[in-house]
């Protein structure tokens, strides 16, 4: 690289992220999550517009199993706790704690997906619900399916973080990778809180 280019570099691009001084990746994740929140917001608003004022719309609790979904909600909240514990562990330099809690978080995500698969299987093949039958089915399967895709992506994402953890990529001074993955996972939990309330309970 020429001297001129080196001299210009700090002017062209600040070395420190303006809002999250510890890493650019974190700012990037926040911006992605904002965009993603708007996707969910659009779906939820569309669901509201279709449902409101429709007298034929069934009461969700008469079709959906609330107990099972309450358990799924509890699972996701637990996996959020294990995720913050994983981050707290690596901030103290505790490698085995990081691996243990990351593993538990991934397990929580997989259990959630299994319960969702069970729920969908019951609704589609035993109770005749479908995405094309009515607006209830269309909004239900799109919203929970989109969220399920996020949980699946989160499980894959956290698995790669776990693999990096096994290779010793993180330490007390270098925990940004874990923190950014944690942001994504908590966001998925946050969205489920809203989906659970608006689609299952309301």
């Amino acid at each position: 690289m020429s001297h001129a280019a080196v001299a210009h570099e700090p002017v062209l691009e600040p070395t420190e992220s303006p809002l999250t001084p510890e890493s650019w990746g974190k700012l990037g994740m926040w911006i992605f999550l904002c965009a993603d929140a708007m996707s969910f917001g659009g779906l939820l608003a569309g669901y509201g517009a279709l449902r409101y004022g429709d007298p034929t719309w069934p009461r969700p609790s008469s079709i959906l199993g609330i107990q099972l979904t309450a358990l799924m909600t509890f699972l996701l909240i637990c996996s959020s706790v294990t995720m913050v514990e994983a981050l707290a562990a690596i901030r103290q330099g505790d490698q085995s704690g990081l691996r243990k809690f990351l593993g538990l978080t991934i397990l929580g995500g997989i259990m959630f997906l299994c319960l969702q698969a069970y729920e969908w299987n019951k609704l589609i093949f035993h109770e005749g619900q479908s995405i094309t039958r009515n607006n209830f089915g269309a909004t239900f399967f799109i919203l929970t399916g989109f969220h399920g895709c996020h949980v699946f992506s989160g499980v894959v994402y956290l698995s790669t973080v776990l693999m990096r953890a096994f290779r010793g990529a993180f330490s007390a001074h270098q925990s940004n990778g874990v923190e950014i993955a944690a942001l994504y996972w908590h966001f998925v939990d946050l969205i489920w809180i809203l989906v659970f309330t608006f689609v299952y309970l309301l």
Binding site: W30, C34, G42, A70, I193, L201
Partner: protein, 115 residues
């Protein structure tokens, strides 16, 4: 991220468990609310408040917005504000699409449902 002192970390971990307890309790309250013998609008209002509280707890303490710079909180709130605006923008259409679909062509919808 800066390295935290052990006291700070212990305090943080206590906070995480407190937030977990609140989330669990609020979820239980939500489940209780839907069976309460009060008008559905009141139930809906309580559920929205409870869900917003839970979402705020997760964002503030698990996503650490409470200790981040204030501007990041504003950025994170932007989608929520936009979604509320979207709901208002959709107000004239609320229910209209469904009504049109369910009342204009009930036989077709019913016929499909039985196949």
């Amino acid at each position: 991220m800066t390295v935290h002192s052990p006291e700070q970390l212990a305090h943080e971990q206590r906070r995480y468990l407190q937030v977990f307890a609140w989330l669990a309790v609020l979820t239980a309250v939500e489940l209780a609310v839907i069976y309460m013998p009060i008008p559905h609008m009141a139930i809906a209002f309580m559920l929205v408040v409870l869900a917003a509280t839970k979402a705020a707890l997760v964002a503030l303490f698990y996503m650490h917005l409470s200790v981040e710079r204030r501007t990041l909180t504003y950025i994170a709130l932007t989608p929520a504000v936009l979604c509320v605006l979207l709901v208002f923008a959709l107000l004239p259409d609320l229910g209209a699409i469904t009504r049109a679909l369910t009342h204009a062509t009930p036989p077709a919808v019913e016929a499909e449902a039985h196949h």
